[in-house]
């Protein structure tokens, strides 16, 4: 543990940590001068498009590519067998998830296709359009097989097995238990119970999945331009699957147009693209279109959860018992696995509350639908929906106000460090302070008065709350201990160039969220230069220290601390040279605004550029033994806690039109504690963006399937996402409880909004509908479901 930065010490020139500094890449991006994978054009480049399976489950009997190869411009057609010659299959399991199983997955399937949308044949042509012409002429003779579409019956006797060699359709099951749940329910004053559904949805990145693989047969080197969150991880994956040395693979991602977890997984069509590049010895590009994205980008959150809560006569929670079921598609997704979401649910339920008896079971089953995996706020929105849904039901059963009930049950701010009944270790949280801050922001009595007045006029408004915890700054306990080569540490190299400017190369990556901005702020402050004097390099395995990239809210907390330490070390190195040049003790000197200054008087002794001139061009004038490395690298990993938890609370104020079932969001509030805030502007935008993604899952987004396993969404016309008109004003407040694991004290902020928004919306809808004796528990809360709850339209079978 280290001392934490005193904010007062930051109030000086080049003090950027904690300030809303605009990010450096904005002008480039708004002028359309970013460089996404599709902007990269290489000589001899060809394009690949994929024939995708129209069935949920089918035997591939015969593939006839004759007509496709006759299309002018079509160069090659590849089947699963062709690619298996150069590419090994992968199996996505983690050894710390005991008993987990999945089947080997190839870039293209060899015998059977197992979901609607799975790539089956690859067609390579001079242009994407010609490749699609070729795709339309490939004849695949399928023998349709019975599909496992309903997760509820995936384990039932008589249900076909997706991978017979696994013995059943069970991927993973775990029970997380502590205390005496049975006794607590027996002694309960009141028990509330409900079944929740969180709808299957996906990430919808503005830039679709994109990859350009360039294998040079002469040098034996592979360069992959990839829209990814984790270039170093992908470097290892490509090397391993294609039987190459890791050093012969370089992954570059310059700009990424949104990722949200979608782009941290290994996709068979992307690996196929790389394998084809190796086979053809030419650069091969694959850019997913929107139609194929819906059936091949990972989906998430397909859960059914039975939940039960026991409370005593004083209104204290005594026990929670949940049974979670999730369908993940035919394969667990490599290398993070598709069991983590369910595992997170049973680790996070009940997270903010002080209670003793807990039992939670997750059952993760295989099915013939698009594979699911980690998507923004993995498991959190599900766990928060169940917890906060039960909390509201319990408050109602007790006749207590939901705020009074929460205040009674939330963990006290002075009770840390502590461990939750689910086994999560908390270093320091601020639930009570956060709730207090929220009350200051919303004027609760006024909202209730407004609600009553509206009801009298037949207008149904509701207010809903959702307290939450969020897992950030993950240690190797998340994936590394399970055997996955997913790095929880991250590094940063900081160097001062001859002109006195600073370059920072970091292992964390820029996805459009502003990573480069915060790294620049931290390094500028740590070295002592103006923020404009720092350039940041991300997303290149050949030029950045090895790191994990962007996932689980780790960029600021892990990458930021590495940058801070590297910057401070570089400043110390420069001051050691300055000390020799100025005949002054290094402790009496400082670097401020690009100048070496006297620490006590702030008098400028010389510009930093003079120091670099001497170091780089007149090193002969310095004492022979003097260290002069104006480049320092530091890596950081958390050690004391498996995760740095953050916390917060959200409130949603909305109106339900009981005639149409439409919901109008009137206002949303978030109070969030992400530890040290590096850039308030970026943190608020992360929170707001997260809330909007939560609104999507709660109200609109749904990867609908037919009972036969046919995906029924293919365009933005039938997969609805929240647009500007659907977004309410989102007011964000902060509490800062820095982590003491790092000097910087930052935790993550990217997922909190998504974690809590669906639950706050659900509780607000049910608050609005309470006088009508109706409630909704299945997301998305579509007009149809609202009207069904009101008994105005029939339930569908």
């Amino acid at each position: 543990m280290s001392a934490i930065i005193d904010p007062a010490a930051l109030d000086r020139p080049n003090s950027y940590i904690g300030k809303s500094v605009p990010r450096p890449n904005l002008p480039k991006l708004v002028e359309g001068r970013g460089q996404y994978v599709d902007d990269v054009v290489l000589p001899r480049m060809v394009h690949v498009a994929f024939v995708r399976c129209p069935h949920a489950h089918a035997l591939i009997k015969r593939i006839d590519a004759k007509d496709a190869l006759a299309v002018p411009g079509v160069l090659r057609v590849f089947t699963g067998q062709d690619l298996a010659v150069v590419c090994d299959p992968w199996v996505a399991v983690l050894v710390h998830l005991a008993g987990m199983k999945s089947a080997p997955q190839y870039p293209l399937p060899l015998v059977r296709a197992t979901w609607h949308g799975e790539a089956v044949v690859a067609v390579v042509a001079d242009t994407r359009a010609l490749a699609e012409d070729g795709v339309s002429r490939v004849l695949v003779d399928y023998d349709p097989l019975p599909a496992v579409a309903d997760m509820e019956t995936a384990l039932a006797p008589g249900t076909p097995l997706i991978h017979p060699e696994l013995g059943d359709n069970l991927c993973f099951q775990r029970i997380n238990e502590s205390g005496d749940v049975a006794a607590a329910f027996k002694a309960a004053h009141k028990i509330v119970e409900a079944t929740f559904h969180t709808g299957r949805h996906t990430g919808v990145t503005l830039e679709p999945r994109s990859i350009l693989a360039d294998y040079n047969k002469g040098s034996g080197k592979l360069v992959v331009h990839h829209s990814t969150q984790a270039p170093h991880m992908m470097q290892g994956v490509f090397a391993k699957q294609l039987r190459m040395a890791e050093g012969d693979v370089r992954v570059i991602c310059v700009d990424v147009g949104g990722s949200f977890g979608i782009k941290v997984h290994v996709y068979p069509d992307e690996v196929a693209t790389v394998a084809i590049a190796k086979l053809m010895g030419r650069p091969v590009k694959f850019i997913a279109d929107r139609l194929e994205s819906f059936g091949s980008d990972i989906h998430a959150r397909d859960h059914r959860i039975h939940g039960k809560m026991a409370v005593d006569a004083e209104g204290r929670i005594t026990a929670i018992d949940i049974d979670d079921l999730t369908g993940i598609g035919p394969y667990s997704v490599y290398p993070r696995t598709s069991a983590i979401e369910g595992n997170q649910v049973i680790n996070l339920v009940g997270g903010p509350y002080d209670f003793a008896n807990y039992r939670a079971k997750t059952t993760v089953v295989l099915q013939n639908k698009t594979p699911t995996c980690q998507y923004r706020a993995v498991g959190h929105p599900i766990a928060v929906t169940v917890t906060e849904g039960l909390v509201d039901l319990a408050a109602e059963a007790l006749g207590m106000d939901p705020i009074t009930f929460r205040l009674k049950n939330l963990m006290r701010d002075d009770s840390y460090p502590r461990t939750s009944p689910a086994g999560m270790k908390f270093e320091g949280l601020s639930h009570i302070k956060s709730l207090g801050r929220l009350m200051d922001m919303i004027d609760y009595p006024a909202l209730r008065a407004e609600q009553d007045a509206a009801r009298a006029k037949g207008i149904y408004r509701g207010i809903g709350f959702a307290a939450f915890i969020e897992l950030t700054n993950p240690s190797p306990f998340m994936y590394g201990i399970g055997g996955a080569r997913i790095s929880a540490q991250d590094g940063c190299s900081v160097r001062i160039d001859p002109d006195g400017s600073v370059v920072a190369a970091t292992g964390v990556t820029e996805q459009g969220q502003g990573t480069e901005g915060i790294i620049r702020q931290i390094v500028a402050e740590a070295v002592g230069v103006a923020v404009g004097a720092v350039r940041v390099i991300t997303g290149d395995t050949q030029n950045t220290p090895y790191g994990g990239g962007t996932w689980a809210c780790r960029g600021a907390g892990i990458g930021g601390e590495a940058a801070l330490q590297a910057g401070l070390a570089t400043r110390a190195a420069a001051l050691e040279v300055a000390s020799a040049m100025l005949q002054a003790h290094a402790d009496t000197l400082d670097i401020v605004d690009g100048n070496i200054v006297d620490r006590a008087t702030a008098i400028i002794r010389m510009p930093l550029s003079e120091l670099t001139r001497i170091v780089y061009f007149r090193g002969d004038t310095l004492p022979p033994g003097l260290p002069r490395e104006l480049m320092q690298t530091r890596h950081f990993i958390t050690k004391e806690y498996p995760f740095a938890f953050t916390n917060g609370i959200q409130a949603c104020w909305l109106e339900v039109d009981v005639e149409t079932g439409l919901i109008k969001l009137l206002k949303h509030w978030v109070v969030e504690d992400c530890g040290r805030i590096i850039n308030p502007l970026l943190v608020d935008e992360q929170v707001r963006g997260g809330v909007v993604q939560g609104i999507g899952g709660a109200l609109y987004e749904h990867c609908a399937y037919s009972p036969e396993g046919q995906l029924l969404v293919g365009s933005m016309a039938d997969y609805l996402v929240p647009m500007a008109a659907e977004m309410p004003d989102i007011e964000v407040g902060h509490i800062e409880t820095p982590t003491r694991e790092s000097l910087l004290g930052a935790k993550g902020a990217g997922e909190a909004g998504t974690a809590g928004a669906p639950a706050a919306i659900m509780n607000a809808i049910n608050d609005a509908l309470r006088p009508l004796d109706a409630q909704v528990l299945a997301q998305p809360f579509s007009p149809e479901r609202i009207l069904q709850a009101l008994g105005k339209v029939p339930m569908r079978g």
Binding site: F294, S706, L712, V713
Partner: protein, 171 residues
């Protein structure tokens, strides 16, 4: 999707039944059908162009007649592949009943499924598309088989003439 309906046809049951078993009549009446050839008494190969929502594709496949109870009912089922657009399959149970001496009441129960791109892009439109196609089929069928030719256009009259001629020839 499932769909049921009925259609009154101004022709005796035997006439309707024979028309229902006539590949030429079916070809003329199935919307978008470009080819329909009998390969046996109960099997046909077919080609049809079908649009569901934004997807339009040529489907080729087989049509089979089963559960035949002449001249009262049969099940007509078909499945076709539209290549990259996906697949369509469906079956219809067709039952005929006398509706007086010169008219027949035809009731049908249709089960239809589409898959692939056509389901992804047109899935939400499949119910209305199927209803529209069924409506078009029975309108054409009733025009071809029924006696009132006054308001029919020339082509329909031609179809009808051909049908009755062959009917007479067979008798």
């Amino acid at each position: 999707m499932d769909m049921t309906g009925e259609q009154k046809i101004a022709a005796p049951r035997q006439t309707v039944w024979l028309a229902l078993n006539d590949a030429e009549v079916l070809r003329a009446c199935i919307p978008g059908c470009t080819a329909l050839e009998k390969t046996s008494d109960t099997e046909m190969t077919a080609a049809a162009t079908l649009s569901v929502g934004p997807v339009k594709a040529k489907f080729t496949g087989n049509v089979t007649l089963s559960e035949i109870d002449a001249p009262t009912s049969y099940v007509i089922s078909g499945q076709g592949s539209g290549g990259v657009a996906g697949f369509a399959k469906g079956s219809a149970k067709v039952v005929l009943a006398d509706d007086g001496p010169d008219a027949t009441l035809l009731t049908y129960t249709v089960k239809a499924d589409v898959g692939g791109k056509i389901a992804q892009l047109g899935g939400r439109l499949i119910d209305q598309t199927a209803k529209k196609l069924a409506g078009e089929f029975f309108k054409s069928f009733s025009d071809v088989v029924g006696p009132h030719a006054d308001d029919a256009d020339e082509a329909t009259v031609e179809k009808k003439k051909g049908f009755f001629k062959r009917l007479l020839g067979k008798a």
